[in-house]
């Protein structure tokens, strides 16, 4: 649908964005702007990471929940917005 594409385009046009992946609640990528292999790799690994992060928070405080996850690395930053049905993963290189 056009609205989904437009939203993705808006996000992609932000400074330094290298790729966007939308993953469903089972860890299967639904939409992506990266190539096949990277997408599959990112979605499987990040899905596990988000589940782990969420369970960590809820173990510490059951009233709390994960709202946003940022993983900063030497080369870029991965931002993950989790939700009940989907995750949105954006890879950004802030210095580019």
């Amino acid at each position: 649908m056009a609205e989904v594409e437009e939203t993705l385009k808006r996000i992609q046009s932000q400074k330094g964005v290298q790729g966007i992946i939308i993953v469903n609640s089972e860890g299967i990528p639904v939409k992506s702007t990266l190539d096949n292999q990277s997408t599959v790799q990112y979605s499987a690994l990040i899905h596990q990471l988000v589940m782990k992060a969420r369970s960590t928070l809820r173990d510490i405080d059951p009233q709390n929940d994960l709202t946003f996850l940022r993983v900063r690395s030497k080369k870029n930053e991965i931002m993950i917005a989790p939700d009940k049905d989907y995750f949105l993963i954006v890879i950004q290189n802030p210095s580019a």
Binding site: K15, I28, K31, F68, D85
Partner: protein, 529 residues
Amino acid sequence: MFADEDLDSVSVESVWRKSQQGAQESVRVKRSATADAHLVLFCVTRFWFCLFQRACQTPAVTTEHAGVQTGSKTSRFTQTEPQEQMDPKRVFSGSGSDPPGLVDFLRRVEELLIRELEKNSRSHAFDGFRANWEERSQQVSHLHRLEHPGAQEQGLHVTAVSWSCTGSVIACAYGRTDDGDWTNQKSCVCLWNLDRRGLRPKQPDLVLDVPAAVTAVCCHPERPALIAGGLYNGEVVVWDTSRTQDPVLAQTGMSADSHREPVYQVFWVPLEKKGEFGVLSSSSGGRVLLWTVDPDQGRMVLVAAYAFVQQQVPHSSRLKARGGSTVGVTATALSPWDPDTFLVGSEGGLLLRCSFSSQTPAAVTSEGRSVTPRAPAVFSFRPSGGPVHSIHCSPFHRNLFASAGTDGLVQVRSLLQADPLLSVRVSDSYVFQVQWSPSRPLVFAAATGRGEVQIFDLARKSLRPAGTIQDGAPGRTATCLAFNSQNHRLLAAGRSDGSVGIWRLSSELMEQRPSESLQLEQIANQVAE
């Protein structure tokens, strides 16, 4: 509804003709009762209304009974869990129906995400911050000094060093760098395995005796046992260190095809057939030859020849032709990005970009050579002020390469333009070899005639080197160096006193910083005035 039944066969005697086929045999039929009744009716009607008889016969059906009994029984069950299939064809559906709820999800999340992206691109929170995963060393430290007493007695210099593809073996070639004449001096190629526990710096693990001085050596990029070497008398030899009796696998010999002048560089190049490699050798006789190895006959077969003649070198208006008619090739470099391009530097200071696939024949007499030489030069860069000793293409940017010669400068050039982008004064004397670092895009190392190996970091604003490696007494030239592509910490430097120093680099010289590729890109895009 259906059940197996045995029914008697139905036969209707012919009223018109006697049966010809002999006894009709009964055929056991298993069918449902209703279907059989229909069949019977059909057969009967057929027989009554048509005037000819059809008969069919089957060969005798033999039956046997046999009995089987099991002695012991076990029963097992298995079950598989349904696997989550990652069906790659299912994803990234550009068109077609989107999964439900996707639009709402994106609406909820988009604003938050865009805010975070903007904040991140403006943020300075992490500038200069680095996590300390490994122990960082501040200094460059000396690990080993490898010497071969036999070679040192003869006064041989180290002319070339090369790391094997596994990163643990270093091959050092001995010869002389200051001789201009033919010599009959025997020399050797020594190998040390640095990862071995009993490493003895004064005793090589393997010594390959060579009848002439070795001027170039290169290890095979995939098979650790193969080493290619170029000799002072123009021969190219391939050694196989896994063979115990005679390590020489193939050599060119002194044929009409081979070089007549010292071979200054050898490389392994991938051939068209995947997995096969050929040897590219360049000599100061102005020729670059491509050989394949024929291990059964022990020969190297010439596949392609490229010859450089002064008249065929492309000139721009500013360049003046120098020297005689042949262009003596002293340095070659292959581009890791484009398998068709290679760079050549000459004794007269010319720097040329050449192509493997050029078809123009060279203006040399092909005296009994099996392959006609071609002229590969495509583009000519602004020449440097003296013979070019070394060229190396950057592994991080497809257009950049560094060249070094006797004028003491290392010039960073782009493949796209004739003038150099940057000239860095490395030393007052000659520069024998320059190589880009395999781990940091902005770092290169140069071996100078003063005996020092200077490591430059282009990210620094100052023109002074980021590190200087001085091994032993000054005054001995450092003739060659090689970065270890597997273990990025190690650097090998060979000297004219016959010793090879192995150095471990500091973390600063080794680890890539976040914006280095960007800076490299900026340097490459500069246009020289």
